[in-house]
Symmetry: C2
Subunit: 127 residues, 2 copies
């Protein structure tokens, strides 16, 4: 095994019995949940900008269609990453907020975002 892979496994606090297979499965599982164009943006919005109502999300997550937003929110709720609350206001409003479990994704999202921002700058200033 590559020294680097050992280091990585260590970083992941994965016992050596588990190793590669569990890492691969881990990536797969994570991708199943955060897959697609929208989920990370939705989670990021709720996690870093606080709770939002449906229409607010529709406006803030640029370009998403109502159907997609609705579907993605349902999936995120099933996976316990966000919480949906119907408020007894008139007209009724619905609030979506990140759960403590959803917050555990912060680190990963921040790393993706940091890389993306750097990448975008790299591309813009080359050529």
């Amino acid at each position: 095994m590559e020294p680097l892979e050992k280091e990585l496994i260590n970083a992941c606090k994965i016992d050596y019995q588990a190793e590669r297979n569990e890492m691969t499965l881990g990536i797969r599982d994570a991708l199943d949940i955060i897959d697609g164009k929208w989920k990370i943006l939705i989670i990021g919005t709720l996690s870093f900008r606080g709770k939002k109502r449906f229409m607010e999300l529709l406006r803030e997550v640029d370009g998403i269609a109502a159907k997609m937003l609705s579907k993605e929110l349902q999936e995120l709720e099933i996976n316990k990453l966000i919480k949906r609350t119907v408020c007894d206001t008139k007209p009724i409003t619905v609030e979506y907020e990140i759960t403590p479990y959803g917050k555990t994704l912060d680190k990963a999202i921040i790393e993706i975002m940091k890389w993306g921002v750097e990448h975008r700058r790299t591309i813009m200033y080359q050529d």
Copy 2:
């Protein structure tokens, strides 16, 4: 703006002029590149297990079809995340390896993997 978002922007070393918009675009750009079921697995394999030949990748990235692998490798090469080298052996072999630029994705991949592994354990031991 939420205090958390300020913190985040700080963490991203993004100047305050850029803020939200650049963060959103960053996530989008990152997703464009690492999107799909396979790219992170391929990059991870090359980054943590060292250079591989086509057939080795076909065997190690479980479940991928030759056509997909071929296509994904081309895209990753275009984005300068991996390097393709034709070796003058008989029969000719082709080596794929991660580039220094590709290595900059390590942190993000590790965070995704760590989350995925934890998530997998959470799911397995609940119920």
